[in-house]
Symmetry: C2
Subunit: 316 residues, 2 copies
């Protein structure tokens, strides 16, 4: 297998993670988390979204986060938007990177919006123009390209059509988002290999949820296919929109820990990353689906064991 020397992680916990939590988190706590995430070495962070506060109350204070943080050299802070109102909020609060989203499901799109996914993306042209006019970078996400609850499978030609629609409106940074946790590693490898080859001009991101325990394996498959940009969420916060109580996004600390063991650089300090995840658990008030928070680092085991063995009198 071929693994990259380094990868870039985007911490999406403040948006995709907290969005799934019932306990409201104070803006001051979010700010503390954002600063700690950046101090851990993360250079791309999804701060929130500029969407209806009624629909997603958890990210209603995204504007305040941007205003408080200001611009931080070398750090990209992105937010999700759905329309022109989102770009307008981005302009006003000093946000310099926004992200659009469309579902890969034709059945879902046609039933809910009476549009194909590529028609939805074509409709984003005004957002792209307004963002660019205001010096705001813009990227696009395709959710559920590996399978959706609305059809047995998504043909890769559909995913290509949507990618081309993004390129047509001037978006060349695209995320493939497995929000329903249905992707399997062989499929991830096949699709990312084909998409990378067909659209070499695109900067690809992969976004996996660990709903069915395959997120880390999917990241491994994507890395082998040459993908080097991944979304992760502190403490594994998040969820599956279709399975209440399911595991969330793949945990940042689990991915950083694995990459450390593989010699794949993430630029993130694992101990600071773990400290952030612990603080997140305190704030949300419950344990999460983080393996490293539960088991500790492999290296901790090595350091701690001689003492424990000595106490038991069973080892050296």
């Amino acid at each position: 297998m071929n693994f990259p020397e380094k990868i870039v992680l985007c911490e999406v916990g403040l948006r995709d993670g907290l969005q799934n939590e019932k306990t409201p988190i104070q803006t001051s706590d979010k700010l503390e988390l954002a600063k700690a995430v950046i101090a851990s070495g993360i250079r791309v962070i999804e701060l929130g979204s500029f969407v209806s506060p009624k629909a997603v109350p958890q990210t209603a204070d995204t504007d305040a986060l941007y205003e408080a943080l200001g611009e931080i050299p070398g750090v990209e802070m992105r937010a999700l938007i759905a329309n022109l109102r989102g770009v307008d909020r981005a302009v006003k609060c000093g946000c310099k990177k926004v992200k659009l989203n469309v579902s890969a499901s034709r059945a879902h799109n046609l039933a809910n919006l009476n549009k194909t996914p590529e028609e939805s993306v074509a409709g984003f042209a005004d957002c792209v123009q307004m963002a660019k006019d205001n010096g705001i970078a813009i990227s696009g996400s395709i959710s559920m390209p590996f399978g959706s609850p609305w059809e047995a499978s998504i043909p890769i030609t559909d995913v290509m059509t949507i990618a081309e629609a993004y390129l047509a409106v001037g978006v060349d940074e695209i995320s493939l988002s497995d929000a329903s946790g249905m992707a399997v590693p062989s499929q991830v490898w096949d699709i990312t290999t084909q998409m990378k080859k067909k659209y070499p001009q695109v900067s690809w991101w992969l976004h996996f949820h660990n709903t069915r325990g395959m997120a880390v394996a999917n990241i491994i498959a994507a890395m082998d296919a040459g993908i080097t940009q991944f979304d992760t969420s502190f403490a594994g916060l998040g969820g599956c929109p279709f399975v209440p109580g399911a595991a969330g996004n793949v945990a940042s600390e689990d991915v950083v820990h694995m990459c450390d063991g593989m010699g794949v650089s993430t630029g993130v300090d694992i101990d600071r990353c773990i400290a952030v995840a612990k603080r997140v658990c305190e704030l949300v008030g419950h344990a999460t689906d983080s393996y490293i928070l539960r088991a500790g680092k492999s290296k901790d085991l090595i350091r701690d064991l001689p003492t424990k063995q000595a106490k038991n009198g069973t080892g050296k």
Copy 2:
């Protein structure tokens, strides 16, 4: 990536899984589980161990399981042994397959047994002889070849030396067992690729614990390296001997579900496999680290959703 057309799973829940449980499971319940596992399509099953009932009371009734099940055509039922007493018990109850184990850690072996791992394996010669004299097949396991709590890393040359010690006493079926959950996918790929190439006469098994969330990714890496035999445990039962409360063996149903999605045949019926895992949770009296028990199959989502959508009035 290259994935095999089919793989073979050994269900180790009755041994490695239940061994970690405090609640005693009745022999009759174990028999019911064993029969259900076999009915699901599993053709290799680890029934228990012939070791000291004081050390491992959970598998003290292994002999009774063999006596009750008798021989089942096409199904291999193996048990762990540690010495000649184990072979003797296997002979008496009709067990036809036993498995030895040694730790790959030189530091651990020298401190506890005053022997190197290969000296321990050489000492198994009498077990191998007695097993073969009695028509009992025998295999060997190397635990923690990917890292151990007693040293920062295990040189692959050490693992090779142990494999050669097994071959020298006539054991050519060898399991690499990551009981401490420290293996990372790149390492699994490297080591299995090298071991397969150097010892083509060996029938290799891989055994992963999901302690740090990497078990499924490690299976993917091993498959890509051409490994086709894996241990899994119903409901993800098991644990890490060094981390109390950590996640256990990789869950059988999670692996079968993923393989179904990848077109890799396991010969196992996923619905029967899930039913076994649910029954296991009832018997042990607690939820486990199984993703599929929690989230359901991807296919269930597809089948169920149109109804839910219709109820919400948000979909077709």
